[in-house]
């Protein structure tokens, strides 16, 4: 596909997201904000699963750790400073990913899936069952953080619209950051590890360090998502770290198409959009969701990201593949 067509499509989607609050009701604005947060979460996992070949089934741990960090350090009845709690949450998630990565990256394949899940379950039970998590029901974040910067207040997160645009800006920033990372020398090493890690080692790459860096970065970006989620909904629960959450974000990445950032975003939109739609129709929505996932894997092996190319090819209209 022509890169210019792809870029115009992405810009059109972005314009749609910028203009959306003008037409959407507050319910839908909040829903789209939630999807944007989950897009960040899905992109962070895509860095591991789609680009490095590390299938983590415990990615919700870093999302939840960041969410709990803001809930725990914010004062109960006053606003915390946004930039401080954002940095603290992202650092906490990144540090957790670094330390857990030191252990889990010693394993490969199915064992990697199992130990990432095991560590995430441990994190879940820390917040569910110990005094640190305060209560298994979760914690309220009563006051939204205050965005002031040296006395200047660029925006106010108590305003739903400001919050929406703050989240949209964060999503775009993460997208652009990851797009840069992926084409950088570091990103090319990750692609090489994905393709043939053994050969990367024999070419002289300490692949373990690169994987640890990717795992830490992915954890920190999942932390950005977890932080925004806590701020958006004003409370955190241990469910944020549950293996359902890890499974859902993995499904978003697979649904969107492995190896594509835009795919991860599309996967988040499709997954949450369908979830909302099906749960309106029936309380057995998970059954329908399961069918959609099976159909998607069968009929769209390259996910939503591969769809435009397939459509172009069937109408025999776009450019050649290679």
């Amino acid at each position: 596909m022509n890169p210019r067509v792809v870029l115009s499509f992405k810009l059109a989607v972005l314009a749609g997201l910028v203009l959306f609050p003008a037409i959407g009701s507050s319910f839908y604005v909040e829903l789209v904000a939630k999807i944007l947060v989950m897009s960040i979460f899905a992109m962070s996992l895509a860095l591991l699963v789609g680009f490095t070949g590390l299938v983590s089934l415990g990615h919700a741990a870093y999302f939840g750790i960041a969410a709990y960090t803001v809930a725990l350090i914010a004062p109960e009845y006053e606003a915390a400073n946004l930039w401080f709690v954002l940095a603290a949450s992202v650092l906490a998630a990144g540090a957790a990913a670094f330390f857990i990565g030191l252990f889990v990256l010693r394993t490969k394949g199915i064992y990697f899936i199992m130990v990432t899940l095991a560590f995430a379950q441990m994190a879940y039970y820390i917040f569910h069952d110990t005094a640190l998590g305060r209560s298994s029901d979760g914690i309220y974040l009563n006051v939204k953080p205050d965005a002031s910067l040296f006395g200047w207040m660029p925006f106010n997160l108590d305003e739903p619209l400001h919050l929406y645009y703050f989240i949209l800006a964060a999503m775009v920033a993460v997208f652009v950051l990851l797009a840069f990372v992926l084409r950088s020398p570091f990103g090319r090493v990750l692609a090489g590890i994905h393709s043939n890690e053994h050969r990367m080692k024999s070419l002289g790459y300490a692949t373990q360090r690169y994987k640890l860096a990717a795992f830490t970065l992915a954890g920190a970006l999942a932390g950005v998502a977890g932080f925004l989620y806590a701020v958006l909904f004003g409370f955190v629960t241990p469910d944020y770290l549950s293996w359902h959450q890890s499974g859902n974000v993995l499904l978003m990445v697979i649904l969107g198409g492995l190896g594509s950032l835009a795919g991860a975003v599309a996967g988040a939109f499709a997954f949450i959009g369908l979830q909302e739609m099906f749960s309106d129709w029936t309380k057995h929505w998970q059954l329908l969701m399961g069918l959609v996932i099976v159909a998607a894997v069968l009929f769209m092996p390259s996910g939503l990201a591969g769809l435009p190319r397939r459509i172009f090819r069937t109408v025999n209209w776009g450019e050649d593949d290679e």
Partner: protein, 251 residues
């Protein structure tokens, strides 16, 4: 004037009760090509795997220019100047020829923190890759996908990738495997050029090629060195003939 680059000193490797290599000694010299011959199961692959760092030895030492590198893994040995190609083609099939070699060159100029730099536009890695591609005889194929190259070209690419890491010691595991006679002849020509300022270990089954290009030949049988010496000596050795032709003829 010969100069020892890589020395294998009594390398031994056990797999459980099986001794795959027993006190193997090999010396690779700059400007020389050293061929490793032997029937299947003689332990050639075990030996090259120990030299490259893919497999730790059970006993013995490996010296690179006098320094002990036995404890280093393959990535660290690559940085010391040991490069290896594989018997079964081991490339990045989805990447272009250029990107295969550029990644190899990038391992010497990693820049992991320059995340806003476009890797494909780091001129030094691209130039190093291009030079290696030309040296290995793949000039003009830079933008082909590696997986779509012919078998012989993929073998050349294996070598180009090693060259792009600036390796001074080349460990080549059956680079002629599966090649036609014309491709083989080209590869022999390439080996002759490559050995001029490097030390090469060649594991190979193609006798004609080995005798055409080797300066020293070591023959292994059942994990041990049977005989080592210049090609004429090996050609006329009764022990070697016995090992290859079967023992029944000599009783």
């Amino acid at each position: 004037m010969s100069e020892a680059m890589l020395v294998a000193d009594r390398l031994t490797r056990h797999f459980g009760g099986l001794t795959a290599n027993l006190e193997v000694c090999i010396t690779l010299e700059r400007g020389k090509l050293h061929a490793l011959l032997g029937p299947n199961g003689a332990g050639k692959s075990t030996c090259i795997n120990m030299l490259s760092g893919d497999l730790p030895p059970s006993a013995g030492r490996i010296l690179l220019e006098g320094q002990d590198v036995t404890g280093l893994d393959s990535a660290a040995r690559s940085h010391r100047g040991i490069g290896r190609s594989y018997q079964r083609t081991n490339i990045f099939p989805q990447f272009t020829v250029l990107e295969n070699c550029r990644l190899a060159a990038q391992s010497r100029r990693p820049r992991p923190w320059r995340i806003f730099t476009d890797a494909m536009k780091t001129r030094d890695t691209v130039e190093r890759a291009q030079a290696a591609i030309v040296e290995a005889g793949l000039g003009g194929r830079e933008l082909r996908k590696a997986g779509l190259l012919s078998h012989g070209e993929q073998r050349q690419l294996e070598i180009a990738m090693v060259l792009a890491t600036d390796a001074r010691v080349l460990l080549l595991d059956e680079p002629l495997a599966g090649m036609g006679s014309e491709e083989s002849a080209q590869m022999v020509e390439l080996l002759r050029k490559l050995k001029q300022n490097r030390a090469i270990l060649l594991v190979e089954h193609d006798m004609d090629a080995v005798f055409a290009v080797a300066d020293t030949i070591t023959v292994m049988v059942e994990g041990s060195v049977l005989e080592s010496g210049p090609p004429e000596q090996i050609r006329n050795s009764e022990d070697v003939q016995a090992a290859y032709l079967g023992e029944d003829e000599h009783g």
